[in-house]
């Protein structure tokens, strides 16, 4: 991939710190009310101008440079995959509640158009405060004044879309498997499956939640939320420029993750190809979603030595126990005093490493979550694991089987309570015209 065809290169920063929309945003920006403008100089500033310093003044005073980012909705791949991973997540899985294929297509058109507009930081429809006085506002309004905040909206299709209702059974990709039961899974039906999904990531949680809220509102009658998950902090990096974040166990996570810069590896392990079986998925990917609860109270009572041995890395720097610094490749042959490998074969690193899994890699995009406390007063918290792969059966299932059966950390301190798999179709080319008869995400599937 060249720099030009990166689907998710951030829009150009202007010298005054504002962000000009990327060219492909023009159509959406023209028709959308900028949230900044609405609060700025009495609506006099519109479009790109609103996103410069004048508009910024009207926004949240604490908006960070990250929140000025606006990503391009259009491209060969959907945004929100190799996009530099944002700090916040709102994820929703939906049941399709209509039996009408035409209604599903209509929903996807509405979602596509709204997503493209939301990603520019624009209000939906006639906005939150500008519509008919006797009607409810088109936009719910809680993101008014907030910049685009690096919002990406990524759509996925679950196995249910391919059941008998919509005549799509023959187009179900072989890669969209029914997830097997893994040892130790304690799935809560409340967090399993879904016919459709939306992953909304942003650097402001309010912006991510606003997106899911408004998109689910557009779906009423055709689809309804089955389950949803908030993520309060990223647990991986998808670009080299980002620091490695920490998961809820206090360790750096995703040190060895695939990055956007590894274009050959991303092509090899993330993007589906027409030759994989279903031409409509070319340029798409498969999203594994797992809600993994961490038994935090028990983990926290474990000695540092034990924690490091379970993980295979030091807690402070994240270096592999075989030595070096965070990004040093682990050496599984280095042994210690007792002749045992310094990185134990039952450590998380040893079992999850590509070398133990036929070279298989995934692009992880997970988030720390907490949903309050359980009935016993323990944190209901953990890792909302998200990973994009080209073939779940070979890139995810074997790794999870190894972890579930041998990884001390997984067996003793983790409980997987939710699980789902989605086919994430390719993106829409720049210049696509959106609207009631326009282009939409997944259109090749229905062609």
């Amino acid at each position: 991939m060249t720099e030009q065809d990166r689907t998710d290169a951030p829009a150009t920063s202007t010298e005054d710190g504002g962000v000009a929309p990327a060219p492909a945003d023009d159509a959406a920006a023209r028709s959308g009310l900028s949230r900044r403008a609405a609060l700025g100089t009495a609506g006099a500033v519109a479009g790109a101008a609103a996103l410069t310093a004048g508009g910024f003044a009207a926004g949240r005073a604490t908006a960070s440079p990250l929140q000025q980012n606006a990503y391009d909705f259009f491209g060969a791949h959907q945004s929100g995959i190799v996009t530099p991973q944002q700090d916040r997540l709102h994820f929703a899985a939906f049941d399709i509640t209509t039996d009408s294929r035409a209604r599903v297509i209509s929903l996807l058109r509405r979602w596509t158009e709204a997503a493209a507009r939301l990603m520019t930081g624009s209000e939906l429809g006639s906005g939150a405060a500008g519509g008919a006085y006797a009607a409810p506002p088109d936009d719910t309004g809680e993101a008014l004044g907030l910049p685009a905040s690096g919002l990406t909206i990524t759509f996925g299709f679950g196995p249910g879309l391919f059941d008998e209702r919509f005549g799509l059974a023959s187009k179900r990709p072989a890669q969209l498997i029914d997830m097997p039961k893994f040892s130790g899974d304690t799935l809560d039906e409340q967090f399993v499956g879904g016919d459709l999904c939306i992953q909304a990531c942003a650097d402001d949680p309010q912006v991510a939640v606003h997106a899911i809220r408004n998109l689910s509102r557009l779906a009423f009658g055709d689809a309804a939320i089955r389950w949803a998950q908030l993520g309060f902090g990223r647990t991986s990096s998808t670009t080299r420029a980002q620091d490695t974040p920490r998961n809820f166990m206090g360790f750096k996570d995703g040190t060895a993750n695939l990055r956007a810069e590894d274009t050959d590896l991303v092509d090899r392990w993330v993007w589906a190809d027409a030759a994989d079986g279903q031409a409509w998925m070319a340029g798409g990917s498969y999203l594994v979603a797992r809600r993994i609860r961490i038994l935090a109270e028990i983990w926290d009572r474990t000695s540092l030595q034990q924690q490091e041995q379970d993980v295979g890395r030091t807690k402070g720097s994240g270096a592999p126990l075989s030595g070096g610094s965070e990004f040093t490749e682990p050496d599984f042959t280095v042994t210690g005093r007792d002749g045992e490998p310094l990185i134990r074969p039952t450590s998380h690193v040893a079992l999850a490493h590509p070398s133990a899994n036929g070279g298989a890699m995934m692009l992880r995009r997970g988030y720390n979550f907490t949903d309050g406390a359980d009935a016993l007063g323990r944190l209901d918290a953990g890792l909302f694991f998200l990973a994009y792969v080209r073939d779940p059966a070979t890139q995810f299932v074997p790794v999870q089987n190894a972890l579930s059966s041998a990884d001390v950390m997984t067996i003793e301190y983790l409980r997987t309570t939710g699980s789902a798999l989605f086919a994430v179709p390719p993106g829409l080319p720049a210049g696509s015209v959106l609207g009631p008869d326009g282009a939409y995400i997944g259109q090749e599937l229905f062609a």
């Binding site: 041995q309 270096a319 126990l321 075989s322 610094s325 009935a375 016993l376 007063g377 001390v408």
Partner: protein, 387 residues
């Protein structure tokens, strides 16, 4: 829960128990302890200073070489190990925190983990601070032996009671089998971390249905449990199937007994302390939630047995810890009593307990809080005993 290996970090494997044990009391490093940087390379052991005041001394050991290294604080004879940190990979920094009285010592780095290491003199001056410097090696070894006797005794009873349980089960006397089930399992649960340390036996003997992967064969206690307390119609097994399950559990139990009774099977003080903590983890993860005995609901037997086992482990280390951290002993004593008193409201192992399903939500929360209140200080037992 299956635990593939008894959670015993490599640094504390049996062979080095004596070395570890030579360290007396080691408090956590606090912010006001000055740290002494040590840099270990292939041919140098650079210690930032050759002198420190008595009390808590903290070495920050960085491996700047290419081989795995170790750092020792030795007595002036160059032989007796005061304390050590081992398995320091290249580029990695580890802390050695040790309490030392005034005197002459030797520092040594051992790149490559062989030879006498690169030694240098180190002086500890008298700071006037009281420094405890008891030699606990023998007492710690004795604690491990004492605990092993307890484990062997429990396994013996487990074998006997398992045989009686399985005899009733295979004879078709389901009422009798149900009556014997929880009482037999008590002896497994009391020593659960030791049993689980045999990663091949544990899944065959104690796997719960949720622990299984797709299409994985299910044997052991909980398979029989589900047969005796079927959740619905249609869980019957043939006599041959029952016999096969019974024979397997009996054989696995005998194998467990033979391994624990083997002459070379040892338990060190590290494992005793960690075992106590892990027993409370078991309560917190599986029993307090009713997941362990999901068909028979006899979780409180397991609960009490885990607590019993943890109390025995604490008991054998008690006197040693009393010298290094009397407050911890006092806290553990009172937390154990509180939890045991709470459990006694619901029965006893001799008289039987109420079923988990009979507990109210408030009662479960009360128990969970007592478990956490004990689990937190118990997690400090190992470090207090031997660190």
């Amino acid at each position: 829960m299956p635990r593939p290996a008894l959670a015993r970090p490599a640094a504390a494997s049996g062979a080095v128990l004596a070395a570890l044990a030579l360290t007396a009391c080691v408090p956590n490093a606090s912010a006001d302890d000055a740290t002494i940087a040590v840099e270990s390379t292939a041919d140098e052991c650079a210690v930032a200073t050759t002198e420190a005041p008595s009390g808590t001394v903290v070495f920050d050991v960085t491996n700047a070489g290419d081989d795995v290294t170790e750092f020792y604080l030795l007595a002036s004879d160059g032989l007796r190990i005061i304390s050590e940190v081992e398995n320091v990979g290249p580029g990695i920094t580890r802390q050695l925190v040790v309490q030392v009285p005034a005197g002459d010592y030797i520092t040594a780095c051992k790149p490559g983990m062989t030879g006498d290491g690169i030694q240098a003199a180190f002086t500890v001056t008298d700071s006037g601070e009281d420094v405890f410097s008891g030699d606990n090696a023998e007492r710690l070894a004795a604690a491990g032996e004492q605990y092993l006797l307890y484990v062997r005794d429990q396994i013996q009873t487990l074998e006997d009671k398992t045989d009686a349980f399985l005899a009733a089960y295979t004879a078709g006397d389901d009422d009798e089998a149900r009556a014997l089930y929880a009482d037999a399992r008590v002896h497994w649960e009391r020593i659960e971390p030791v049993a689980e340390s045999f990663g091949d036996l544990d899944p065959m003997m104690d796997a719960r249905e949720a622990d299984l992967a797709e299409d994985e064969e299910w044997t052991g206690w909980h398979r029989i449990e589900k047969n005796l307390w079927p959740p619905a119609e249609g869980y019957d097994l043939t006599d041959a199937e029952k016999q096969e399950l019974a024979d397997k559990l009996a054989a696995d139990t005998a194998e467990l007994a033979s391994r624990v009774n083997a002459e070379d099977f040892v338990i060190d003080a590290f494992q005793v302390g960690n075992g106590a903590k892990e027993l409370l983890d078991e309560v917190a993860a599986g029993k307090i939630t009713g997941e362990e005995e999901i068909w028979s609901h006899t979780d409180l037997w397991d609960f009490q047995a885990n607590v019993d086992g943890a109390a025995v482990a604490f008991g054998v280390l008690r006197d040693i810890v009393a010298e290094s951290d009397a407050d911890l002993v006092e806290e553990l004593d009172s937390r154990f009593s509180e939890l045991n008193e709470l459990l006694a409201q619901y029965g006893s192992i001799d008289e039987g307990f109420v079923l988990y399903t009979e507990l109210t939500e408030d009662q479960i929360v009360e128990l969970a809080r007592a478990v956490d209140a004990l689990g937190e200080p118990l997690s400090r037992l190992t470090a207090a005993a031997i660190a």
